[in-house]
Assembly symmetry: C2
Homo-oligomer: 198 residues x 2
């Protein structure tokens, strides 16, 4: 592999959905390896004094984001529908991801979670929705759901959040190449190209 | 002309600098006309409860922005240095721009203001800096500076800010094609392409 990028994503993040669906293709074109790092924006936003998504706190920004997502999804050939609730509680799905990503179907599980939320209009805070995504990705739901509720995977997710904060991450998706930080689906290509330089 | 884009810029905005330096070339490639609309972010941020730039209020976002600007400027072949004060008071320069943009050297004046601030490290709140930019762009400083202090141009700028707010603009640069809004230098190409569709 020519280089490595860490892909920091939050399941409740709309723009993370765009990146999750395309990052592997773009990385493969360049021969770059992508390490998927689920994390939570909640604690990071709380540290900035926000108790909600900035897209809800600042209505003009929110209106723009929903329209921009429609346009971007269309341009990328992705289906997209605005979920009923936003942001959804992504805690359980993120904990499940810390387990799933040790398996060869882990990245597919992450994409299934995004599709459940942003294409099928399902509520990813619900255990049965997470379990369905495990199965459709190729895993065994009873195993992964047990892991999702285990202390070890709570700690793995907590460590991811702390590492994200330590790296200066303040939004999602983000990409890191060593100490270099890139924020936003718009920076996906730039981050992958950067990995070829270092 | 195949289409028209309105380019909404704030002189104190770092990413507006990137767009100001490249929007005309990108538009010319597509045969799109660009109408330059100077405005102020201050009143728009104040309406969101901010009394400062979000890059100062949220340090992680600010640290990221300065590094991202270095990378983006380098990628675009533009010089860039972080100014001593940020954000600078852009009121006088913006009022001068509402006059200058009626002249054929108006867009060049705007670029000169950005270069003074982000390349030469000058303080664009100073009348002599604004006047120098008028002259180097090809205008007559005494005329434009008188206009910059006139009630008519104060009103022209105020009307721009009100129109920006009415269009849902919450940051700079922004681009509009009829009712369609695009935010950020990253969306420059998409906005210009959109103008070809409508």
């Amino acid at each position: 592999m020519a280089g490595k990028v860490e892909f920091w994503f939050e399941f409740a993040s709309t723009y993370s959905y765009l990146s999750a669906m395309r990052v592997e293709n773009e990385a493969a074109k360049r021969g770059v390896e992508v390490v998927w790092r689920p994390f939570l924006l909640g604690p990071i936003f709380a540290a900035q004094g926000w108790n909600n998504s900035p897209f809800n706190i600042y209505p003009a920004k929110g209106r723009y984001m929903w329209r921009d997502m429609e346009r971007r999804a269309a341009a990328l050939g992705l289906n997209f529908q605005r979920p009923e609730g936003f942001p959804q509680n992504s805690l359980l799905a993120a904990r499940a991801a810390t387990a799933a990503l040790y398996e060869d179907w882990g990245k597919e599980f992450c994409r299934k979670i995004y599709q459940a939320q942003f294409v099928e209009g399902r509520d990813i805070s619900q255990p049965d929705v997470v379990a369905d995504c495990v199965v459709s990705a190729g895993g065994i739901d009873q195993i992964t759901m047990h892991q999702a509720y285990s202390n070890s995977h709570k700690e793995l997710l907590r460590a991811n959040v702390e590492e994200a904060q330590a790296k200066g991450i303040f939004g999602a998706p983000s990409f890191t190449v060593c100490a270099e930080l890139f924020w936003g689906d718009d920076r996906l290509e730039e981050a992958l190209d950067w990995a070829l330089k270092v």
